[in-house]
Amino acid sequence: MRRRRRAANALYASAGILLGLVILVPFLFVLSASLQTESELIRRPPPIVSPDPTVDNYEYVFTGNVPAAYASRELLRGTVTQDVRQIPKGLRNSFIVALGTVLINLVLATLAAYTFARERFRGRQAAFFFILGSRLLPAVAVAVPIYVSLRSLGLLDSKLGLVLIYSAFTLPFSIWVLTLYFRSLPGEIEEAARIDGCTRLETLRHVVLPLAAPGLAAIGAFSFLFSYSEFMFALFTTETPHAKTIPVIIASVSVNPDASYTLIAVGIVLSMIAPIVFALAFRRYITSGLVASLTRG
């Protein structure tokens, strides 16, 4: 019996290692590729670990100094493309758009969710259903109409346009999660505050919000991850580096036949830093938010 338990544990452990590898290897690969020079990468087969790693590729992306390895080889010079110089701008745009979306979510979703959680009024059910249903409307189905709408509003190729779209897409989920969360708080403290003379908004601000930090963390993380990583609408609606977000830039760099793989890899690594940091930092809130929202409608 004990031998069977030990064998089972060994099996689980090796399966776990396999899972870890399957998850990590692509990340490690792209990280290693970004630290290599092109000549190493295109060798067949490519080396597992670069013999001499270099951060020249990163330096090029941020400063425009062509890496020494490329400068010397005339043939490979063509693969150092100007496109990748847009990466830092893309990162900045993505960040600004994501933060804007998070802010709108935090404010509007809190107001709406508190009302859904604590108020009773006619039309509440309908409004709630509308919010929930629209959350599941997939992007592709409304992409074209939204493009045409934005064009008539003059909001194409703008960070503001993106913030508005992303907010519209993340608000339903945020409202839902926060409503669940507010409902789970015992109402006595709020009642006490109301009796003591607080208005609903004051109660919300001074009493409820400090207690709702986990819920707010969850929706903040989700909105950030969604708007930072969103690709399709950014692709449709942006044209200039002024508004292009990082997913659009690395996608266009990757389909550029003149771009070297090492530079593409740099783009990928840079694009993953913020989401990974956010996901790791807010992991617990993301998990509980996901479970709560998907299993309770």
């Binding site: 990468l41 087969p45 009302t115 259903f129 003379g197 208005t199 690709f231 399709m232 990974i276 996901a279």
Partner: protein
């Protein structure tokens, strides 16, 4: 003290009564509702309008053309092809993602030392931008310089590099594979949460009753997973029908039209040919199909309004 509070309370409440309860409620909902409506109701309505007019960017007049856009769409052979591709994709990818998610959840539910790290790692493929995951795998699966081929070659499994992304059959398989890598964390987390609601006495009792692993799974574990299973299946179907980012960075719809899924087809029809009327018609068709799934989903989860 108490009187002071009560007086203040009365004053505040009379302030609010002027606004009215209903007024407050709708006022706080208005910004959120307006924003959401602006980008759901309005575009859908606009799409309905556009889809029955001839709306091509480079042409000046936009006459009403009835259902001609829809007719053109359905008669386009690529339309049927893309629906077929999407159906194949959904039929394979959704069960695959669900199965992998379930297996991972079952694994992570075992109390093995060091699995805490895995719980952290498992979120990563889902957290990064889909295009980043896609481009990474594109580099890995590259027919000439890919590391996967390099690895297989190195260990002697293959003599020649396999064209993962440029041979028609493999291309679809590759897209499905990358999609699975990217999506499995979500079902895994859901199933894991469901598994952790199983009371340990139940499985202990089953074990004492000499039930083998399969019987334990079937009678103890599975009933607790049914709800999560249904939700995962419908949700992942909705996701699978909307796949776009991966197609863009992995295959561009190719080779030929092997991986032209419906969303990709809508994209090229609209933005490569600038035929917005056609694009709107396609979007509408897609929205109609998805609404069916959404309704199914909401009914499954049975949204219940609790009185505050």
């Amino acid at each position: 003290m108490a009187t002071g509070g009560a007086v203040a309370g009365q004053r505040a409440h009379s302030r609010e009564r002027r606004f009215g309860r209903r007024g407050y409620s709708w006022l706080t909902l208005a910004p959120a509702l307006a924003l959401v409506a602006l980008f759901t109701l309005f575009p859908v309505g606009y799409a309905a309008w556009t889809s029955v007019h001839r709306h091509v960017l480079v042409l000046q007049d936009r006459p009403y053309v009835g259902l001609r856009n829809y007719q053109n769409a359905i008669e386009d052979p690529l339309f049927v092809d893309s629906i077929k591709s999407s159906l194949i994709f959904v039929a394979v990818a959704v069960p695959l993602v669900t199965l992998v998610g379930l297996l991972v959840a079952l694994l992570l539910n075992q109390r093995v030392r060091g699995f805490a790290i895995l719980l952290v790692l498992v979120l990563l493929p889902w957290a990064i931008p889909t295009v980043s995951a896609g481009i990474t795998w594109r580099l890995l699966l590259h027919g000439d310089f890919g590391a996967l081929d390099g690895f297989l070659y190195r260990i002697g499994a293959i003599d020649e590099y396999i064209q993962w992304l440029s041979s028609p059959g493999l291309a679809m398989a590759s897209v499905i594979g990358v999609h699975t890598w990217r999506e499995f964390p979500l079902p895994a987390i859901l199933f894991l949460a469901a598994l952790q609601t199983i009371p340990p006495d139940l499985s202990e009792a089953a074990r004492l009753d000499r039930a083998n692993a399969w019987e334990r799974f079937r009678y103890v574990t599975l009933p607790h997973l049914k709800a999560a299973l249904l939700i995962v299946l419908v949700y992942e179907t909705i996701i699978a029908l909307s796949v776009f980012d991966l197609v863009y960075v992995l295959t561009g719809g190719g080779p030929g039209s092997a991986t032209t899924l419906f969303s990709w087809f809508t994209y090229t029809a609209t933005f490569k040919y600038l035929n917005f009327g056609q694009g709107a018609a396609l979007s509408f068709i897609m929205a109609a199909v998805l609404v069916v799934f959404i309704v199914v989903y909401m009914r499954i989860v049975r949204v219940r309004e609790e009185p505050s």
